[in-house]
């Protein structure tokens, strides 16, 4: 996707956000004390700024579209990046249930595979040792209680 088209997509999303934010701001109390700006004062300024800037980005994107290919050739989908983000989401979702150790070992192994490791023994040893060392370093060494999960 070309940069002008990206700008247009972002501008529309931000415009929707700005309008939604402004709408929620209307529901906040205005002036609770005479002559003193209330809780809605600062968000009101922000929503106006967001809407104006989104419109400016929209105009910039539309102007930039002229004469540029919208979908340049050779664009590939970043599968590995998407996998990494997917793994992070899975880790965040599973952490409260299965705990740090149980989820971080497969997470670490999966990341090593993503970064290109293909040696199973090296992968298995590293994926166990490093999360275990981190777990005990933080929980014993620094008294930071990492989640053990509700299954344990």
């Amino acid at each position: 996707m070309s940069m002008p088209l990206r700008n247009i997509v972002a501008a529309i999303v931000l415009l929707a956000f700005g309008v939604g934010y402004g709408f929620l701001t209307l529901g906040l109390p205005d002036r609770l004390i005479p002559n003193v700006p209330g809780p809605s004062f600062f968000p009101s300024l922000i929503s106006v700024a967001l809407i104006v800037l989104s419109l400016a980005l929209l105009v910039q994107g539309i102007r930039g579209l002229q004469g540029e290919p919208v979908f340049p050739d050779g664009v590939t989908i970043p599968w590995r990046s998407m996998c990494l983000m997917g793994l992070l989401v899975a880790l965040a979702a599973l952490l409260p249930i299965v705990g740090f150790l149980a989820v971080s070992i497969p997470f670490f192994a999966a990341l090593m595979v993503l970064y290109g490791v293909r040696k199973p023994v090296y992968l298995a040893i590293s994926a166990v040792i490093i999360p275990v060392v981190l777990f005990y370093l933080f929980s014993r060494g620094f008294n930071i209680l990492l989640p053990r999960g509700i299954l344990m």
Binding site: R6, N7, A10, L14, F17, Y21, L24, L28, P29, L32, I33, N35, V36, P37, G38, P39, F41, F42, P43, I46, S47, A49, L50, L53, S54, A56, L57, Q60, P78, R80, S81, L84, M85, L88, V89, L91, A92, L95, P96, F100, S104, F107, F108, L111, M112, L114, Y115, G116, V117, S126, A127, I130, P131, L134, F138, F142, I144, L145, L146, P147
Partner: protein, 506 residues
Amino acid sequence: MEDVALGFAQAVQASSLIATAIGVVLGLVVGMIPGLTISTGIIIVLPLTFTLAPNVSIALLLGLYVAGMTGGSFSAILLNIPGTPSACATALDGHPMAARGESGRALGIAIVASFLGGLFSFFCLYLVAPSLADLALEFRAADLFSLVFFGLTIICSFAAKSLIKGLISAVFGLSIVTVGQDPIMGTARFTFGDVNLLSGIHFLTALIGLFAIPQLIENLRNGGIAGSENKATSKFDNVFPSLADIKRMLIPASIGGPLGSFLGILPGAGGPIAAFISYDYARKVSKNPGDFGKGAVEGIAAPEAANNAVTGGALIPMMTLGIPGDPVTAILIGALLVHGLAPGPLLFLERGDFAYGLIFSFFWANIFNLIVALAGIRALVKVLKAPRVLLMPTIALLCVIGSYALRNSFFDIYVMVLFGFLGLAMKWLDMPVVPLLLALVLGPQLEEHLRIALAESRGDVSVFFTSPYSLFFLCLAAFSVIWSLILGPRMERAKQRALKNMDEKS
């Protein structure tokens, strides 16, 4: 005077000195690895510091900050890949010297010049910071608003490509800080009835997602397995600079030190600009300007002294005014807030011992940086061959631990992942992240001072122009914007020209 003595005593405690030394080692390693910035290094180490005493914690982080600048020059010299943006100028002469078989000499010059620059900025910090803090105690709400507004003009220098995108990034950041209780009346805003949102989005959680996650992805794209070995990294001569080299370093270091300290104080100027300006001046005053770009001693010393001097300079507004001079000091503000210490003029008044302890820890960080870098360079350079397949997953786990450990909350992990997506979206849009970061740091103060100032003046906005301090900061803000939008791009073009010349030579 009592605070100075107490601060010195804090900085020379065994725990503080050990923390500084560990911070220095970590900083050298982080700075050296291309693809890891000092900001990311500090974010990774942050969770380790939560349970440490504030003075020990800040000593570790300062060690990392100071040494990170020097570490960046190692890979710039040895591999021609600057470890940090501030080390770009060092590569111009550092790598040619290393390429002709004088790696040790080039590294030694960089280390000693870094020390000289850092030492100069320590004296600036020690002498200027307390006086500035005294002055800042006289500021009223309108002055403080204008001051914070001036701090926010750093945004313009990070939005050279598109001012609109820089401003959107900042305004979006300001919208995030409005989530939670409002700072004056305590009214819940944009919480949707969720208890977790009442205390707002934690600045550090957002930071981890915004900075570290996109970096993990970036390293994924660049290929995970590193390990660089060439002529420059494989063999070293003596790293201790000769007397003749030290003599040649004095003039460029005396240019870089003051210049870096001054530019460090200015919001947004930062290490890369200081290094390039210093390099340029050193070439202008040199008797042999033709040697620059071919491995000149002055060409390494000037940018290295400047980028390390920036660290002390950037700490001045951070400590005295609560205004970050660069992204790293913005993170340091967050780290201090975690320990219940708010940087600003009251820091010297209420916790003078801690403030001076920080200044002296900065001094020790420079001393350790010199010793560790000179003595351990051979071992440290092995890090350049370390497999990133282990480093990157470890960083990912540390991001999760760091987010969770802040408040022992799973909610913060979700927020971190969400901000990771936001960081990627911003990269996709070529939108600068630093304005958002600054808005997260300065946003609450901006709103608070604005509302108090308007309440005091009964809604009269002229209060911002009638107070001499406020007017001064607004003028500075205007100057900062002009500097960023007119002079900044010029500097960037000069930098690009220099980098192009470097590429052609190599």
